[in-house]
Subunit: 403 residues, 2 copies
């Protein structure tokens, strides 16, 4: 099956990818689109002209109505799109609804209901534990028994390209006796994947690991901006709050779970064996390569396949107490860090707590983010027939603190 869309076949945005997003053109209303190659398929009019049942969910400013339809609709829309984009006979019908990517504005792809952030990388948790608690075991006793997570702020999840204002707040370095107020001096990133819930679940019920693909619509790249000095002072005993809540950036494109079938890999060994509700099949992991680009320099290549806890385990844990799911719920993996230095997904780890300089290609060095710095996360995954597909990038620049 080869697409007739110019330049798409064999590219990272081939017909095996087909991520969804929300776009507009000058002066018109945001609506749902699908990317192939360097064009966006304007789904609402195409679906209407082709009399698709789901046509009404595309003339909407978010993916939520489409995501709420559930997996049978996701599968049938994808199958329809693949057919329309590979069948030469459909070309004349579809072409009027293709828009060059360069002509569109991309928007937040969905409205976030609840946002949960996990902590699923063994290397990240070990690195942070070693830095924060140098005299203890790096991992806390619960870490290998459950995917540790917490709720973040849904209202400050923003799409790629949104400027991030340096947050102010209380910081108390260890060398001082009382806290002071001011702009964060240790502004950081966390390179993560985010998983978006489409199909809801009822309160009082749980979603087993084998129901993951019935509830999760797709994947975004996610940057969990973090003010380490604010976080370090505030986080005991109730967890991160203002050190995280100022901004979380996500990609404009949501990669459907079906596009990641070829990326499925076994998890690393889990020892001890998880409790029954956390058991997963083979291939519960994802082989996705992430790149962290700081002012144009690739400073890290975190490998998602090294993550200890699987996405299906996060979802099963999140709902094991009967917490309901809503369309638009977003849960993120936590920082993706591999074992090697050049695989660390945060600047806290790359600079080892600010002690080691990170060299950029322009000759400058960094520990944490400076005003004007730009960070871009990109990622690719194996495509079914060889080659790779791309996830949507997530880009953000730091603006100076206000006030």
């Amino acid at each position: 099956m080869t697409t007739w869309v110019d330049g798409a076949a064999g590219s990272r945005w081939d017909v095996t990818n087909l991520p969804y997003g929300v776009f507009s053109m000058a002066g018109d209303e945001p609506r749902v689109g699908c990317r192939i190659g360097d064009v966006v398929v304007d789904l609402a009019p195409l679906a209407a002209s082709d009399l698709l049942d789901a046509a009404h969910v595309f003339q909407q400013p978010t993916l939520n109505p489409f995501m709420a339809l559930g997996r049978p609709a996701w599968d049938s829309v994808r199958a329809w799109l693949v057919e329309m984009l590979t069948d030469d006979a459909a070309r004349s019908e579809v072409e009027p609804f293709l828009v060059p990517l360069s002509d569109v504005t991309l928007h937040a792809p969905f409205e976030v209901a609840d946002y949960v952030d996990f902590y699923c990388s063994l290397d990240h948790a070990s690195n942070v534990g070693t830095m924060l608690r140098p005299d203890s075991e790096p991992l806390l006793p619960n870490w290998r028994h459950l995917p540790v997570g917490y709720h973040g702020r849904a209202g400050t999840v923003v799409p790629t390209g949104t400027e991030v204002v340096r947050p102010s707040g209380q910081r108390k370095p260890r060398t001082e006796t009382t806290p002071t107020y001011g702009p964060s001096r240790r502004l950081d990133i966390e390179a993560e994947l985010g998983f978006v819930v489409g199909a809801p679940s009822a309160m009082g019920t749980s979603v087993g690991t084998d129901s993951f693909a019935d509830h999760v619509f797709g994947v975004v790249l996610l940057n969990d901006w973090s003010a380490r000095d604010i976080q370090a002072w505030e986080y005991v005993p109730l967890g991160p709050f203002l050190g995280k809540s100022f901004a979380t950036s996500i990609s404009a494109w949501v990669t459907p779970l079906a596009a990641l079938d070829a990326a499925r890999v076994p998890l690393p060994d889990q020892d001890p064996r998880p409790l029954d509700y956390l058991r997963v099949d083979e291939d519960a992991g994802l082989d996705i390569d992430v790149e962290v680009v700081w002012n144009g320099t690739v400073v890290s290549r975190p490998p998602y396949r090294s993550m200890y806890w699987a996405p299906a385990q996060m979802l099963a844990h999140l709902t094991v107490n009967g917490a309901s799911l809503r369309t638009g719920d977003l849960f993120a993996s936590g920082t993706i860090s591999g074992a090697a230095r050049e695989q660390r997904g945060s600047f806290l780890e790359l600079s080892w707590g600010g002690q080691e300089l990170v060299a950029l290609d322009d000759g400058s060095t960094r520990t944490f983010l400076e005003d004007g710095d730009e960070v871009v996360l990109t990622a690719t995954a194996p495509a079914p027939a060889g080659g790779r597909i791309a996830l949507g990038e997530v880009r953000g620049r730091i603006a100076p603190a206000r006030g």
Copy 2:
């Protein structure tokens, strides 16, 4: 100014109260109402017949559109209502729109955007600290410098009367070496006030303590159900998650901030003096008396006036990093506990970690919640001309664990 509504004058639902909620009658659509005495004012048709500008926001299934209008609209609607309900000449116009409370179903009053829970009671934090860390200072170093808080799950905030299914999850008592899965054995409540944001704020800006009343629409009673065994095992280092996320109950009535003017009192002494962004005027506290009723027995009377951190300080802290506010954001005080045993707002504290029995009037005893138990929180505040007004109650019964 005396109301003409039968039985309302001098009651706890006098015209000085006038809480808002969402109600329906058999078969019709949920819409906004206002309680006075034992009747509900059906605001949409009354406002339409009186040609009120804001009439369109009342024919809605949540308070959010009304709350989004901001303080000038809240003030003018309240002034209009007081006039209509006290002017004998308006009686014939208003009476057709009064519905007996016994004829209505009450619904969730608003759609929750983000939910944040604070930890503002010195006595509660000291009690919990003493139990959890018997060999250390009860209060952690940051506690007197900032109102400690964290994000909770907005999607499981439910209105009074919603059944609460006992959550299951991982628990590891100190006497065991590995965790097990099962229903919570230490199911608890937390008696709190919740503050509801009406007027939003922009990302990258903060809301000072003096802007509190421009953003906060009103107050609900809130029960932050807590599974202590799940919480104790999961909460390091990222805070409470599944021990809280299964359910949070709120009252169906939202008390407007203006109804609590007579309840304003000075805060307890704050030592050390808070940083500038947390400074408040005199009378930043609230004199609200709460009662905790367990299967019909009043087991505690937590006094809100004893809270260390003021509501305006919570809001200023929540936004000091530039986090935006949305209409429907809910932030709660944390457990309200006074210094005396009979003022403790959680069963963890009342039973001192499960070691002391709580006696109920039916002769039974309790430490934590049993299946079938019902908890009701009620509260009153001083009325402007003496007497007291009531907040809406929050009621919940425990259903057995599922699965």
